[in-house]
């Protein structure tokens, strides 16, 4: 910035900085409160194993919320894709076919959501709420409410590729989800599709008069989220070697929390992929951290609530406006200290 006011303005420009700070502080606190757990590497490896499905869901949801929409149906897709994969694997011993079909099932659910929202103009909260009940119901029905064990997948290549342990310790799904984060950061921030999503979330009328096909973009958006949710379901199912019909059902609120504490605005128009990344790790680490601290499981929710509130407040403070306030304040503090005490700068020569 040329007009020099901005000693700290760059802080506001580093995407996801406030939320990364929250994560760092959280881990520092846990290192003190639960040193035996948080000084070892195992707890972190366990986060790298449990957080990725949630992270993948949260990345998709970040796009949805950036576009000014909401999707409540992804838990059902996690279940449906898990079922499709395990069923195809069990029946035909074709894991890769199952993988592709599972992604396709997610695409189908997302595409139908998109049609309802874009073509029939059903508000997305209603369309996807109905979809959540419907597709979860479909999954329960065809699975007969039963779980399917696929222990034999552990010896299969697909297991190694997606959830294997690199060097025997590092979960591969952490890398896959990180890949998703990077690719989708570029799609949101550097691709026409992402730009269209931001403008639609900002003001769909503006997007329309500037020649963006709003309806088609919305359909693509929901389809994309369906595929991502299916991928999350696959990472989960292959990791735990079992499909159970209720899988994904507890994920709705944590995933939404991860997106919002990451700094994506509920109002739409702007999405914070990096923020969502750290937000997911915060949400995914809290429960284990609080339990390991030994203050008892009843505290978990309370602490989660506090951390969420603190993250959102911090995002507001260190956001665009906050950074310039901070730098203005810092200039005031910093100027006197530039000169050694007792020795005024020459420019103020009349002293």
């Amino acid at each position: 910035m040329k007009h020099g006011s901005s000693r700290f303005a760059f802080l506001g420009k580093i995407e996801g900085l406030p939320i990364a700070a929250v994560l760092a502080i959280l881990y520092v606190v846990f290192i003190f409160t639960a040193p035996s757990v948080f000084t070892g590497y195992r707890i972190y490896m366990s986060f790298f194993q449990t957080v990725p499905p949630m992270l993948v869901l949260a990345i998709g949801l970040t796009f949805i919320i950036t576009a000014g929409e909401i999707d409540l149906s992804f838990p059902a897709v996690v279940a449906l894709s898990g079922f499709v994969f395990t069923w195809v694997f069990k029946t035909y011993h074709a894991p890769w076919l199952g993988f592709v079909l599972a992604l396709a099932s997610g695409a189908l659910v997302g595409y139908i959501n998109g049609l309802l929202v874009a073509r029939l103009r059903v508000p997305s909260i209603m369309a996807t709420l109905a979809a959540q009940f419907f597709w979860y119901g479909v999954t329960l029905l065809i699975a007969g409410g039963l779980q399917i064990n696929i222990e034999e997948i552990q010896t299969n290549l697909i297991h190694t590729v997606f959830v294997g342990r690199i060097f025997g310790v590092f979960p591969a799904q952490a890398l896959w989800s990180l890949g998703v984060v990077i690719v989708f950061w570029f799609i949101l921030n550097r691709h026409k599709f992402g730009e269209a999503i931001m403008f639609i979330g900002d003001n769909a009328d503006v997007a329309r008069v500037m020649g963006i096909n709003v309806e088609a973009t919305r359909i693509k958006l929901f389809t994309m989220h369906g595929v991502l949710a299916a991928f999350a379901g696959l990472l989960l199912t292959i990791e735990i070697n079992v499909f159970f019909p209720t899988q994904g059902q507890g994920m709705l609120l944590p995933v939404m929390a991860a997106v919002f504490i990451g700094g994506t605005s509920i109002a739409g128009g702007q999405g914070a992929i990096v923020g969502t990344f750290f937000g997911s790790y915060i949400i995914g680490s809290l429960e284990a951290g609080v339990v390991a601290t030994g203050i008892g499981g009843y505290w978990v929710q309370l602490v989660e609530g506090l951390v969420m509130a603190a993250s959102v407040i911090l995002n507001v403070i260190i956001g665009d406006e906050g950074a310039s306030l901070l730098s203005r304040a810092a200039r005031k503090w910093a100027v006197p200290s530039q000169a050694p005490p007792g020795k005024e700068p020459a420019a103020r020569g009349d002293a």
Binding site: M1, H3, F186, R190, H191, K192, F193, E195, A196, M198, F199, D202, N203, D205, V206, A207, R208, V209, M210, G211, I212, G269, Q270, D320
Partner: protein
């Protein structure tokens, strides 16, 4: 983007009608804009101004009628906002030209990004060109506004300046200004009018829509009055003074239209 300049009218509309259900929004519209003519399109709320603009800019087609751009007949089945852009029509709306929360450089190129392979945006190039438009075309200088600034940081007049600069950058033959000065302070209105003056100096055709005569009188060559979906008057500037035009419209809107002759 248009290059050929051997045409007579920027736009010609013949018998354009638009119905929403049974409601006629436009009836029998015949309108012609010369290639460097500035038209003031005047009418009250609900007169059909916005509907007319949306037809010209490809947001929706008319129910019937013909339209010619640069003397070429438009087939409405293949007409869209994108196509209108390609044919050199740019629009500056009162309030929906820019994405509030987006950086300025994105606003210049939204819908027609400069892309690298696979649809990724050439951010560097877009920013550089946007910077050029801001400095050379609109004349933003040293106001603490950069291509990275969000639109929400701009004043109303500056926003319209950005939208007009964008229209001029894409070498429009016809620039439509849809009530660009509504809700602006007097000072900001003056700014916008100076931007419009630049369009005029560049020899482009322009349709300036307003219900405020003060704005439109000094920059227009001709005034077209729209009322309840019909064009009721077309008056060239040398036929009428601002005061006469004002009186005409006032009496017209009081239902005396049969008695007044411009």
């Amino acid at each position: 983007m248009a290059t050929a300049s051997n045409y007579k009218t920027a736009i010609r509309m013949e018998g354009i009608e638009k119905y929403f259900g049974n409601v006629a929004a436009l009836r029998g519209i015949n309108l012609e804009v010369g290639k460097d003519e500035v038209i003031g399109l005047i009418g009250d709320n609900g007169a059909g101004k916005s509907t007319l603009i949306k037809i010209i800019t490809g947001v929706f087609p008319p129910s019937s009628g013909e339209m010619y751009l640069r003397d070429q007949r438009v087939s409405f089945s293949g007409y869209s906002v994108r196509e209108a852009h390609k044919r050199g029509i740019e629009t500056v709306y009162q309030d929906k030209s820019l994405g509030e929360k987006q950086a300025l450089w994105r606003n210049f190129f939204i819908g027609r990004e400069i892309t690298l392979p696979f649809g990724f945006i050439d951010v560097k190039k877009e920013k550089k060109i946007a910077q050029g438009i801001m400095v050379d075309t609109i004349g933003f200088r040293g106001k603490g506004i950069t291509v990275e600034s969000r639109v929400s940081k701009l004043s109303g007049g500056e926003r319209q300046g950005v939208a007009i600069g964008r229209a001029m950058h894409f070498e429009a033959d016809l620039i439509i200004l849809d009530e660009p000065t509504v809700a602006l302070s007097l000072k900001e209105v003056r700014k916008v009018l100076s931007f419009v003056q630049k369009i005029k100096e560049a020899g482009k055709a322009c349709i300036y829509i307003t219900h405020d005569l003060q704005d439109v009188y000094q920059i227009s060559d001709r005034f077209v009055v729209l009322d309840r979906g019909e064009i009721v008057a077309s008056i060239t500037k040398n036929e009428i003074s601002l005061k006469e035009l004002d009186t005409f419209l006032l009496e017209y809107s009081h239902g005396l239209k049969d008695k007044v002759q411009p």
